[in-house]
Every structure is written in structure tokens, then in C-alpha cells.
């Protein structure tokens, strides 16, 4: 993990836990907030990096993903030194939005950004970032929205919903803006002055592909080698790996890589089943090595639904720390089903890392859906319908209940297959735990 206690000394790294490196672990209770004793000056400098906080579980230094609901699902945020892999939804609508939230959060917190894309110029991506919601403006607009559902400038697609288990409601509304995690207005752009004040590096593959390689040819594709060199260069030059201990204030490097694995990067795993099966995985391994030895956090979006060789997807998952899959309802048969109002798609938390621990905070909730309203991207547990609710939704008189229940049960069965065993169609609030 990122060297913490040794950032000031430059000795071998001992880890990114927010504590003096060689001390025994203490309970998470003691780790909350900066130490009064101030035994390690670099420790207090690290805790005071804007936009970070220690995890309540294991003291790991966390940054916000830009989506507070997602932070909550991931146990507080994204751990510094790790990779968050987003499996893109089919048309890359919501995954690119998550990508922008991640970068926007970096700008708001004053982090350094590294934006890599083979499709869009990073400068253009930054122009498209959503504007942050400030407390007072937000409250006014939120009340206004609760009253009427005018969607004049809305370009939101039809909302879909599918509801399953009745579980404790997650925090769906915004809290007042704090230092960690912010809310963004997807319909407005980030103010130009904030973008210009930020520090960012862009890697646009079509521009970089012509320069020569100074590394031996190995099985990585050209694009991946160049990107790795670029990242390593920034980390080294700007001291994110602790190589320049004289730097006065530590900062986080947020790395965002878009559409990794797509043919635009020169990789053919999305085109053919017998593509280069090692390039992407080797890239991820070395990338994680770079992340573990620096104060950086990385979000990658990947069109996994296009990867032909399923073995690669499982290897990629093993090589990533956190993996979140997005599945939008656009274009699927659920889009026009009145049972699926309110939601735009499903979020699958496929993997959460066990960092410095034998266990991790596993949320009880496995069935999550998201919706994008004009201002907010929210994630909620899918709720379960009783059959009575279903009849009401479908506006059907009770004497048709036999036929209705049969066809709707069939509808119910299909997505339950999608979400795997352990969740099922249950009437009432019974938990489906078949053990």
C-alpha cells in the first residue's frame, strides 16, 4: 500500500495504514481522527490531506468515489493504493457518469488528476464534469423537485423499477456537504475556474502512440506500455511515491482510465476470443504495483460485456481490488415493463477487497438498483413487492389475479436468475435465506 510512515524518511515502505508504520495495530476506535500525541509528523500530514479520511474498520486511508452512496457500499470509500474497476453498462452511459463523478471529486478536493482515454481528449472530459451541489442551493432545489416533477431539460430515459426484498432503507437523500464526499448536479457543468485551478495530466492515446518505446517489447500492447510509463513518470516526478520528502504537503493522485480493454487501446480482447490474453492482465498487475507504492487511487472503466473470453474477465476481477458492475435497463425488455418504474438499472458489487484484514464489511444488501434523477444519482436496495402491491401497480382488478400472478411471477423469476441464488420471489417480508 502507499508508504505512509516512511513518506518522510524514504525508507522501505511499510504500508498505507494511517498509523506509524511499525506500531502494533490498535482498534479502529482509537484510529479515528488525528492522534493527540502527534508522534509521527508525517502521519498528521497524511490525515490532513483534503478529501481523505481513515476507514473506521482498519485505518486504511480512503478517498471518496464522488458518489456518497457508492462510498457507503464500499465500506466508506475507495482505499488509497487500490484499483476500483467499473464494469461498464452496455452503452457506457452510467459508467462514464461515475467516471466523471470520480474526477469531479478530485477537483473539488484539490487532488491531482491523471485522466487517460483512448476515445476522448482528457481536456474535453474535464469540460464535461458535473457541477458540485452546494448546501444552500441544493436544499432549495430539492424541495422544489419534491413538489413537482418538471423535467423540462431532462434527457433522462424512462425510469424502470424492480423491487425485491424489503430491507432497511439506505440513506437516499443528501446530507450537508462535508469534506468527504460531495453531491453533483448532472445537469450543470463544473465551473471553468475550478477546472483551471486544478492540477491535471492527460493521456490521450492517439496523441502518444507515435513516440518511441524505451522498454523491451513484452507481451503488453503498445498503448498499455505507454500508459504505464506515463503513470510511473507522474508518480515519480511529483513525488507521490514518497521520493521527494521535502514536499511540503502531501496530495493524492487520482487516476482515471476510460474504456480499458477496448479496441481503441490496441487490445483485441473485445474483438476476438483468442485475443492477446496477457496484455491487459499484466497491465493491471504492474498498475496495482504502482498504486500500492504511492499515494494514488485509480478508477478504471472497462467494457467487460464485450470481452469474448470469459476467463479474462475472471482474471481481471482477481487482479482488481474493488469491482462494481453496472447494468442499465436501457434497451432491455424491462424498460417498457410497468413493474420496473423508478430505476435505471442495477448495481452489482462484485468484489470488495480485504485490506489489512481477514474480513471485510459485507453489506447485507446484495440487490441494489440505481436511478438518475436530474440532480442525483442514488442507489437503493430493491424492494420487494407483495402481490397486492403488484396488482395495484398494474392497475388490475382483483378477479384477474390468477392470470396476472402467473405472468408477473414469470417476470419475477427471470431477473431473480440474473441476480443469482439467494434472492427470490417472496411474498411478504420474509428473508430468503436458504440455509
Amino acid at each position: 500500500m502507499a508508504a505512509v510512515a516512511t513518506c518522510g524518511t524514504g525508507a522501505g515502505s511499510t504500508g498505507s495504514v494511517v498509523a506509524a508504520g511499525s506500531k502494533n495495530h490498535v482498534t479502529s476506535f482509537q484510529r479515528r481522527g488525528p492522534r493527540a500525541s502527534g508522534s509521527d509528523s508525517s502521519y498528521s500530514r497524511l490525515v490532513s490531506i483534503a478529501g481523505t479520511r481513515p476507514s473506521v474498520r482498519n485505518g486504511q486511508l480512503l478517498v471518496s468515489t464522488g458518489l456518497p452512496a457508492l462510498d457507503q457500499l464500499l465500506g466508506g470509500g475507495l482505499a488509497v493504493g487500490t484499483v476500483l474497476l467499473i464494469e461498464e453498462d452496455k452503452y457506457n452511459i452510467y459508467s462514464s457518469l461515475l467516471f466523471k463523478y470520480f474526477l469531479a471529486e478530485g477537483i473539488i478536493n484539490g487532488h491531482t488528476l491523471l485522466v487517460a482515454s483512448a476515445k476522448e481528449d482528457p481536456a474535453d472530459i474535464l469540460q464535461e464534469l458535473p457541477a458540485p451541489l452546494l448546501d444552500d442551493n441544493f436544499k432549495k432545489d430539492f424541495d422544489e423537485e419534491a413538489c413537482n416533477h418538471k423535467t423540462a431539460e431532462s434527457n433522462i430515459k424512462m425510469k424502470i423499477a424492480w423491487r425485491y426484498q424489503l430491507l432497511p432503507k439506505m440513506e437516499a437523500g443528501p446530507v450537508s456537504s462535508s469534506r468527504f464526499g460531495h453531491y453533483y448536479d448532472a445537469s450543470k457543468k463544473m465551473p471553468q475556474e475550478l477546472i483551471e485551478a486544478s492540477k491535471w495530466h492527460g493521456f490521450f492515446f492517439p496523441e502518444k502512440s507515435s513516440s518511441t518505446l524505451n522498454i523491451e517489447p513484452c507481451s503488453l500492447t503498445h498503448g498499455y506500455i505507454k500508459l504505464l510509463q506515463f503513470i510511473q513518470n507522474i508518480i515519480y516526478e511529483e513525488g507521490f511515491d514518497g521520493s521527494n520528502p521535502q514536499k511540503k504537503q502531501k496530495n493524492i493522485l487520482r487516476i482515471g482510465i476510460q474504456n480499458l480493454g477496448s479496441p481503441l487501446w490496441g487490445d483485441d480482447i473485445c474483438c476476438t476470443e483468442n485475443g492477446n490474453s496477457h496484455s491487459l492482465t499484466k497491465f493491471l498487475y504492474v498498475l496495482r504495483g504502482l498504486l500500492r507504492t504511492s499515494l494514488s487511487a485509480c478508477m478504471i472503466t472497462m467494457p467487460t460485456h464485450l470481452i469474448q473470453n470469459k476467463a479474462i474477465i475472471s482474471r481481471v476481477t482477481n487482479l482488481s481490488d474493488t469491482v462494481v458492475g453496472l447494468e442499465s435497463f436501457i434497451g432491455s425488455e424491462r424498460e417498457t415493463n410497468p413493474l420496473y418504474k423508478d430505476y435505471h438499472g442495477l448495481i452489482h458489487i462484485r468484489q470488495i477487497p480485504r485490506l489489512n484484514n481477514l474480513i471485510y464489511d459485507v453489506s447485507d444488501v446484495k440487490d441494489l438498483a440505481f436511478k438518475l434523477k436530474r440532480k442525483l444519482f442514488t442507489i437503493e436496495e430493491e424492494k420487494e413487492y407483495t402481490l397486492n402491491d403488484l396488482y395495484k401497480r398494474l392497475h388490475l382488478p382483483p378477479d384477474l389475479s390468477d392470470t396476472v400472478s402467473r405472468s408477473s411471477k414469470q417476470d419475477l423469476a427471470e431477473p431473480s436468475k440474473l441476480l443469482g441464488p439467494g434472492c427470490g420471489v417472496m411474498a411478504g417480508g420474509k428473508k430468503h435465506l436458504d440455509f
Binding site: 495495530h25 496477457h278 443469482g420 440455509f435
Partner: protein, 273 residues
């Protein structure tokens, strides 16, 4: 056999006598996980062998040194101390990969296949292991039997090595560590299930046939459960004997806690009783 059962049932407070340890020498133990994370087994064996005063060579390809160290402290061992006094030789894959990839190395590096387009074999890695576990010539036997621990072997496939190269590597290590030096090898391989990872299947099957003990952690078929994290299948094998002899197996269910793992018979989770 009772040695293994006992050690698993009380994974947090492992005590072993020399006679018990001697029974289990020269063995290859295969750790396997399917639909779940079997790394708790790696942490267990690492702390177990360090506490048993064995000399350990840990090829740690998946996480950083500090991660294993912090978990090790929860299980009662300090990797920092063990490394400093020479009991533990630790190859930190993630950190070394950055060194190897970006800078040409003067000497052969155990992970130098990362720089090569078509690395044929893992010989540099084997040489590293052999050097790490070579007998100390200073007269007194400081440590008990040598142990090679690998976390994990599947990632070598992701880094461009073929299944045959990895099997060869283990074969050479067995010759040196198990037969020549009467030590043990413990290695983790993922079971990729139905993801059609042929190379991984070859590796897993090949190693299964060579192993004396297979510990297989599986996610529950019924899905996620808060009180039972998975199922552990233990299979004792005698690779040299004809296959008509029945291998003994046991199945436990387990729940991983902050500093230990508790095992119980199927359906006997305290949460259910």
C-alpha cells in the same frame, strides 16, 4: 492427520509439537478457492509455520508486505521481526514488479519474465526459492524444516506464463524443498469454475494429483450468508499410492472473524442452533 484437524479447528491459537510437525513433512498442500476468497488459509499457514519455527520463503504475489504483516499480527506473528532475523524470506511481487518492469536489472530477477515477450519458464523464480531455503552452514540448526508458501499460482498465468511452466516450477521446487530438504510447500490456486479458464484448470488438476492435502474453500451454493462465510473441504491424499485407495475427506463450514476463523460442522453454525 490429527495434526491438521487440530490446527484448523483452532486456527487462532496453534500449538504444535515437533513430533506432530514431523509427520507432515515433505508434503505439498494445495489451497483452492471457488467462488470465495481463500486468502484466510494463506494467512493461517504463514502464521502457523512461523510460530512453529520453520524457515519460510513466501512468494507473495497478490498483496503488499504490510497487508500480510498486519493480518499476521492479528494472528500472533510479526513478519517484520521474522524477516529481520532471517526466518522469513519475503518476495513482494507487487513492489518488485514495478522495479523489474521499469528498470533493466543487472542480475537475473525472480520476476524477470514480466519484461520478456515470451518467457519460457520460471527458472529465475525457482533459483530464488532454492537460494532462500538453502541450508545454513553455521553448524546450529536455527530453524526447523523449510517451507515454501505461494500466494498465488493462478496469477502467474495472468502474467503470461503457461500452466505447464507453472507446473514445472512447482515440480522443481518439490524436488528441492520436499524431497531434498524434507520441507513443505503450500500454494494457493483459484478454481475458476465455469469461466472456461483452460490454463487454470490444467494447473489446478495437475497440482491436485500431486498434492497430499487439498483444502478447498467454497462459497455457499445458496448464496451469501452473514453467519457462514463458506465451506471448507479437506481432502487427504496419497499421491504415490494407486487411486483405488479411497482418500479421506471432511467438510466444515466456517466463519471468518477479525482474528480467527471458526469452523463447525455443516448446519451447526451457532447462528442457526
Amino acid at each position: 492427520r490429527s495434526f491438521w484437524k487440530g490446527s484448523l479447528a483452532s486456527a487462532s491459537s496453534v500449538s504444535t509439537t515437533w513430533t506432530e510437525l514431523r509427520e507432515g513433512l515433505g508434503k505439498l498442500t494445495l489451497l483452492c478457492d471457488a467462488n470465495t476468497d481463500g486468502s484466510f488459509l494463506v494467512h493461517h499457514f504463514l502464521s502457523f509455520y512461523l510460530k512453529a519455527n520453520c524457515k519460510v520463503c513466501f512468494v507473495a504475489l497478490i498483496q503488499s508486505f504490510s497487508h500480510y504483516n498486519i493480518v499476521g499480527q492479528k494472528l500472533g506473528v510479526s513478519l517484520t521481526v521474522a524477516r529481520e532475523c532471517g526466518q522469513l524470506v519475503f518476495l513482494e511481487g507487487l513492489k518488485s514488479s514495478v522495479d523489474v518492469f521499469f528498470r533493466a536489472q543487472a542480475e537475473p530477477h525472480p520476476l524477470q519474465f514480466l519484461r520478456e515477450a515470451n518467457a519460457e519458464n520460471l527458472q529465475p523464480l525457482y533459483e530464488f526459492v532454492r537460494e532462500a531455503l538453502k541450508p545454513v552452514d553455521d553448524g546450529e540448526a536455527a530453524w526447523r524444516c523449510p517451507v515454501l508458501l505461494v500466494d498465488d499460482l493462478s496469477v502467474l498465468l495472468s502474467l503470461g506464463m503457461g500452466a505447464v511452466a507453472v507446473l514445472d516450477f512447482i515440480h522443481y521446487c518439490r524436488a528441492t524443498v520436499c524431497w531434498e530438504r524434507k520441507g513443505n510447500i503450500v500454494a494457493l490456486v483459484h478454481d475458476s469454475g465455469d469461466t472456461e479458464d483452460e490454463e487454470n484448470n490444467i494447473l489446478l488438476n495437475g497440482l491436485s494429483h500431486q498434492s497430499h492435502l487439498i483444502l478447498r474453500a467454497e462459497g455457499l451454493a445458496t448464496g451469501f450468508c452473514r453467519d457462514v462465510h463458506g465451506q471448507l473441504r479437506i481432502l487427504w491424499r496419497t499421491p504415490s499410492q494407486p487411486t483405488t485407495q479411497r482418500d479421506q475427506s471432511l467438510t466444515y463450514q466456517y466463519k471468518i472473524q477479525d482474528k480467527s476463523v471458526s469452523f463447525f460442522a455443516k448446519g451447526m453454525s451457532p447462528a442457526v442452533l
